[in-house]
Amino acid sequence: MAVEKFPVEASHIMMFARSVGDDNQIYYDDEYAKTTEPGTVIAPPTFAQSSAQFDPDYFLRPKIGEPWFGSGGQPTGITRSASGGGGGGGGGLHAEQHFEYHRHVKPGDVLTASVGPGKTWEKEGKRSGKLVFSETVTEYRDQNGELVITARGVGVRTERPVDQ
């Protein structure tokens, strides 16, 4: 996802840490954070993923005035052609995620994210039919243009829902 401006904020870090059940006070308390090795609040390791909040086109967020495929009065708000069951219109599943940390981001950083080309490949799956994998490589840079995180994600579209 390409993002022009991802301001890293303390309250967002706090909410993110809560959501992953991480009670490490470095994510909540700037006074405590001063006593830690980084000496400041930092973001948890997978926080960069929440750059989705700052991607104007992110398709897994309801947008004002646009149809949304989740349920309302009906099980889905959008009628789609039956193309690939597994994603259920949800854009497939997340297969892999990799992060390389050049430094750990902190409140006050303003990041950009640029997406480079990635590979695509196919595989026959036992539990969900044909699998189509696609990779994206995202570079997060700070306000000085320095590379802070390199992220590589792999998504998969399944032919049908994964057998349970």
């Binding site: 993923q49 989705a52 909040q53 049908r160």
Partner: protein, 135 residues
């Protein structure tokens, strides 16, 4: 509290229980914080009736995030240099997850870890690696 090379041996392990009886509300919380509002994670009606899964299920990134907490508790704040995973099975409401980091190798101020998270049935839901700076 960083790890010290002198105290580490290949094969050492560190484990934590990440969550017991995962609640749908925590998945909603993660959707809100991360910005990933895919209804597959929060909208039971859509997920069962349209997507044809037995129920909503956790974002892979929620499992990776919870596992990341185990890792930073082990290696210390701001010490990770790499962290990557494959999502090998879905995580459902009600699941209890345990996660383990195992020392795979030590080199020049770095430790390489094998990371694995399993559910209450012993099924691996996440498998990956991490690298951290050590003293």
């Amino acid at each position: 509290m960083a790890l010290k090379a002198d105290d580490l041996n290949v094969g050492d392990t560190y484990s934590e229980c990440l969550v017991e009886d995962l609640k749908r509300t925590q998945i909603v919380q993660y959707a809100g914080a991360s910005g990933d509002y895919n209804p597959l994670h929060t909208d039971e009606i859509f997920t069962v009736e349209v997507a044809k899964y037995p129920s909503v299920f956790a974002h892979g990134m929620l499992t990776m995030g919870m596992t990341g907490g185990m890792l930073t508790n082990y290696v210390g704040d701001g010490r990770l240099t790499k962290y990557g995973v494959r999502f090998t099975s879905q995580v459902w409401p009600g699941d209890t997850l345990n996660s383990t980091a195992t020392v795979e190798s030590l080199q020049d101020g770095l430790v390489n870890l094998v990371v694995e998270t399993t559910n209450q049935h012993g099924v691996k839901v996440l498998s990956g690696y991490a690298q951290a700076r050590i003293d």
